[in-house]
């Protein structure tokens, strides 16, 4: 169990939240122009790192808002929390997905 700082409600217990998925996965502009491999990459392939990971969480039992969390998957340390639509901290930003327009 660890605490997650909701951008609205402040620090709350992890059990109040639900994990969504990896953040900043942008839908390709022209899916029909992609190869099957590139489309599959967009749909299914995730980074799954041991270390810092950008992900989406929702404060299910609280304000029910989605937001971004940068979390170390190894230690559960929360490195940053930022709102939807905001860019990740520069030191944590990752390479964009191929075929995606960021």
């Amino acid at each position: 169990m660890f605490l997650i700082p909701c951008p609205w409600c402040g620090e709350r217990e992890e059990s109040e939240f639900s994990y969504g998925h990896e953040a900043h996965i942008v839908r390709p502009e022209d899916p029909e122009k992609l190869s099957d491999a590139e489309w599959a990459n967009y749909l299914f392939m995730r980074t799954n790192p041991k270390g810092p990971h950008l992900e989406r969480w929702v404060h299910t039992a609280g304000c029910r808002r989605w937001f971004n969390v940068a979390r170390n998957t190894h230690t559960n340390e929360i490195l940053a929390v930022y709102l939807m639509g905001e860019k990740p901290p520069k030191n944590l930003a990752k390479e964009p997905v191929k075929g995606a327009k960021s």
């Binding site: 709350r12 304000c63 808002r65």
Partner: protein, 210 residues
């Protein structure tokens, strides 16, 4: 508005009125719990940065939507406005004031012609009040929020989990005896479970029904 004859407390089967009469002497009791008469609960959503939205609400219930997360404005004895999310609030009225508040909000937000919503959720939840010198300890047994007076007091609210039940939690102004009073608003299908849990959690301090 829902026909009044259909309104029935989710805790009606517990016979709380009879217990309250039998336990009228509450002196020396650690925890006093009671179910409040069905308050009006009206959910509002809209853009608080739009002055027309704020004006329409002020015109309807004479309160401005709070923008500080997890705060409540207004008096428990009349109408309150509770922050639920950056674009979502709950109007809590006295049982008799629900219909008038609902109609005024619907009318004024319709006139303002905004992207907003007003939903009567009165029957979705009930209100359980927990008070007494040990009230804070009891709720803390099932709730991870810091309820110490330095962190949580009257005028603040939270949507959180108490013993695995999602509730709206608010501390109302301290009662006449200067003891903390909390209100828990669980969904009605969880009300019996939460009530039973509260009674069990309060047993060691002495519990009575008001």
């Amino acid at each position: 508005m829902i026909d009044t004859y259909r309104l029935r407390s989710p805790l009606a089967h517990l016979g709380l009125d009879a217990r309250a009469r039998a336990e009228a002497d509450i002196s020396g009791t650690g925890v006093i719990i009671s179910e409040r008469p069905q308050a009006g609960l009206i959910n509002i959503r809209g853009d608080v940065s739009d002055a027309r939205f704020v004006t329409a609400i002020e015109k309807s219930i004479k309160l401005s939507p709070p923008t500080v997360p997890n705060t409540v404005v207004g008096k428990p004895s009349t109408t309150r406005l509770m922050w639920l999310a950056p674009d979502e609030w709950m109007v809590i009225t006295r049982p008799s004031g629900a219909e008038r508040a609902l109609k005024a909000l619907q009318k004024n937000l319709k006139i303002a012609d905004l992207h907003s919503s007003v939903t009567d959720t009165t029957e979705a939840r009930t209100c359980i009040r927990v008070s007494g010198p040990r009230a804070r300890e009891v709720i803390s047994k099932g709730c991870s929020i810091d309820l110490h007076p330095s962190a949580f007091g009257p005028g603040q609210c939270a949507q959180t989990v108490v013993s695995r039940v999602g509730v709206m939690l608010a501390q109302t102004a301290n009662s006449k005896t200067h003891q903390p009073t909390y209100e828990l608003y669980p969904l009605r299908s969880f009300a019996t479970y939460l009530w039973n849990w509260l009674e069990d959690a309060s047993a060691e301090y002495g519990v009575k029904v008001e």
